[in-house]
């Protein structure tokens, strides 16, 4: 996993609540057995005017000029600004894979769906929670100034605006540690293999019907 320490990038505002995982990456693209290559189909139904197909060339497809990521002023955006309950719906990790593959490193929203939030950390994508009022203000600032960038500092748990204002955010220490160091948590869990085995033996004794079926 890619480590995340400090990132500065252009902000793209998606002014919409309840952005679901079907919107982020429609189902036909879930047929891939790979982890990469989902970027060109991120937000496919909003981004293009026609229906996307897996394994197809997207370069000649008609773009929806109204969609935020198609507007030149947001080209190269790597910080996504959105409204409440971002990533609701399915557990598909293809959603963070697509966001990451497109080039996003951080998302800022008032709230996230639990599974999406969890999946993002496993893929070097940082979902930041800020209160609604702050998010609302960032929307206004982003729309008011072309090329608006934010700096996300995970080490110090703050977002820095172009004017130098620092906005603090909360993040779980364990997740932060893994993300800062790009750690694979399977390796970490396997350090506790003896404890897992001990638990398993106890469980086998108290609920033997759970084993060997």
């Amino acid at each position: 996993m890619k480590a995340f320490t400090v990132h500065q990038g252009v902000v793209a505002p998606m002014d919409r609540a309840n952005i679901d995982t079907d919107m982020i990456i429609p189902k036909q693209f879930l047929k891939s057995i790979k982890r990469s290559g989902f970027g060109p189909n991120l937000f496919d139904e909003l981004r293009y005017l026609d229906e996307g197909q897996p394994d197809a060339d997207n370069s000649g497809r008609p773009l929806n000029p109204d969609f935020v990521l198609n507007q030149p002023r947001y080209s190269g955006a790597s910080v996504l600004l959105a409204r409440e309950n971002f990533g609701c719906g399915s557990s598909r990790e293809h959603a963070p894979w697509a966001l990451e593959d497109f080039g996003f490193r951080a998302i800022i929203a008032p709230s996230y769906a639990d599974i999406f939030y969890n999946n993002s950390f496993k893929n070097g994508l940082l979902p930041i929670v800020l209160d609604e009022e702050t998010v609302d203000r960032l929307f206004k600032e982003t729309e008011a100034s072309e090329g608006y960038q934010l700096t996300v500092d995970l080490e110090n748990k703050k977002v820095v605006t172009p004017s130098g204002e620092e906005i603090a955010f909360e993040v779980d220490d364990f997740r932060r540690h893994c993300l800062l160091n790009g750690l694979d948590d399977i390796g970490l869990t396997l350090q506790d293999a003896d404890e897992i085995r001990a638990y398993e033996e106890k469980r086998r004794a108290s609920a033997p019907w759970l084993f060997g079926a």
Partner: protein
């Protein structure tokens, strides 16, 4: 000290280790696998040179991509027309064969939707932790199990370590007291709940369904409710263990055998929230207030009653919701104030992990019996949840009732719930669907989904528009 909730008990029973930062290593008793969210996890194992920790904790079956027509199913995997789907189904077979994981392959009559197959086989048991790379894993909580969906990285984590790193969630109780009216099902209850608390109402929570209306509900109804806990934002839905649970589990292939049955039931009998348990939040609902539900918009919280109308902008709580309503009117081709019963339908879908069990098919067949699907409909599909559900339905003659009424009777799979196979809506088409999500494009590009119960879907198929099942 206050008593424990069902969630507290299940959590405590599965903690391997608590870390200083408050996260815990939780032991997973059962992992269900399917073709869409597992290939990258197996690839991860291979790259790292790891093996599954415990083979017997895993059970796999292909469901999302499988075709549902008998002609396409006849020649096995090679017969799957869509080459990308074919590769994914084949990859699941290859991975399960390679690692030695028990799989019900496409031609096996035990194959079906993972969330139908698990309970049907007794592979889902009370007191278990159950995970699957699918958000509707919450279904299994109906058995007083701690069940939730996970992403592919976590699928790999469970394969490799039999554990997950978790932080404890909050306790939310949905208490439904009273008696449900005629024709009101678990589907109507859960859609009503989502309408009350919203799609983010359960975020960060484990949601228990309790109250007298739940106690008298069948396992199928409970599974439907828990299945859609995720549509209210809760990863976990749960119902306490009782005699109805035990009766359902007994004698199933993976259930405890005779010599262990009494011991298991004794262990399970405490799987309920204590009377003095404290919940972080309680939502009380009167069963008598619940009418047949129909979603009108593009989020499950955009729901109303069959005798209702599409809400107006004045009904929206704030600007964010108002802009959501506007977008939904446009996408759904509906106008504010329009009567729900005036929405004309193009297709009907009865199936999915929410509503494809035998009780669901019986309820739909009861409505369809002796009637005909409206000529204005392009298609009315019935897709059983598993090969065994299909077999049982055929034994009861339900297939004939459906076919005579003009429904198509299909092979088991996820089908039109998420349209990863050939079963999908055309752009602009309205569908009465027993599935779980009405998101834009969910059932096909430009498709317009209305979520309803199986009986409501069957009644809508006959009329060509929504009708109140209570008036049939």
């Amino acid at each position: 000290m206050a008593g424990k909730t069902l969630y507290d008990k299940l959590w405590d029973q599965h903690v391997v280790k608590t870390r200083e930062d408050g996260t815990a290593l939780i032991y997973i008793d059962r992992q269900l696998l399917h073709e869409v969210t597992s290939p990258q996890a197996f690839e991860g194992l291979r790259i790292a040179g790891r093996k599954p920790w415990r083979l017997d904790a895993n059970l796999a079956t292909p469901d999302h991509n499988v075709p549902t027509t008998s002609t396409e199913r006849e020649s096995g995997i090679e017969g799957i027309q869509d080459p990308v789907s074919r590769i994914q189904v084949k990859t699941l077979d290859d991975n399960c064969d390679h690692f030695g994981i028990n799989e019900f392959k496409m031609a096996d009559k035990r194959q079906g939707i993972v969330h139908v197959v698990g309970p049907e086989q007794g592979a889902t048991l009370p007191g278990m932790t159950v995970v699957c790379g699918d958000s509707h894993t919450a279904t299994h909580g109906a058995f007083a199990a701690l069940a939730h969906g996970i992403g592919t990285s976590e699928v790999e984590h469970v394969l490799a370590t039999q554990c997950l790193i978790q932080r404890k969630m909050k306790n939310l109780l949905i208490k439904v007291d009273g008696e449900l009216g005629k024709g009101i099902t678990g589907k109507d209850v859960v859609l009503h709940v989502i309408g009350v608390i919203g799609t983010a109402g359960g975020n960060g929570c484990a949601m228990e369904f309790g109250g007298s209306a739940i106690r008298s509900m069948s396992m199928e109804g409970r599974m439907t409710m828990c299945n859609m806990a995720i549509e209210a934002g809760a990863r976990v839905g749960m119902v306490a263990f009782d005699e109805i649970t035990a009766e359902y589990v007994k004698g199933r292939p993976f259930a405890p055998k005779a010599d262990q049955w009494e011991q298991a039931v004794a262990a399970w009998s405490d799987l309920k929230s204590d009377d003095d348990a404290e919940f972080d939040k309680v939502v009380e609902i009167r069963a008598e207030d619940i009418k047949p539900q129909v979603t009108w918009g593009t989020s499950p919280e955009m729901v109303t009653t069959v005798d209702g109308t599409v809400p107006t902008l004045e009904d929206a709580a704030d600007d964010v919701e108002r802009s959501g309503f506007k977008r939904a009117y446009e996408y759904m081709g509906l106008t504010a104030g329009q009567k729900i019963t005036d929405i004309k339908l193009d297709r009907v879908f009865i199936g999915s992990c929410t509503n494809s069990r035998i009780e669901d098919l019986r309820a739909a067949a009861e409505v369809a019996k002796g009637r005909k699907v409206a000529e204005s409909l392009i298609q009315a599909l019935v897709v059983p949840g598993s090969g065994l559900v299909k077999e049982q339905a055929e034994k009861e003659g339900l297939d004939k009732i459906f076919i005579e009424a003009g429904f198509e009777w299909r092979e088991p799979g996820c089908s039109m719930c998420l349209a990863m196979n050939a079963d999908k809506l055309g752009s602009g088409e309205h569908c009465a669907s027993t599935s779980n999500r009405n998101f834009e494009g969910r059932q096909g590009y430009g498709g317009r989904t209305h979520l309803v119960s199986p009986a409501m879907a069957a009644a809508a198929a006959i009329a060509g528009h929504f009708v109140d099942v209570r008036e049939l």
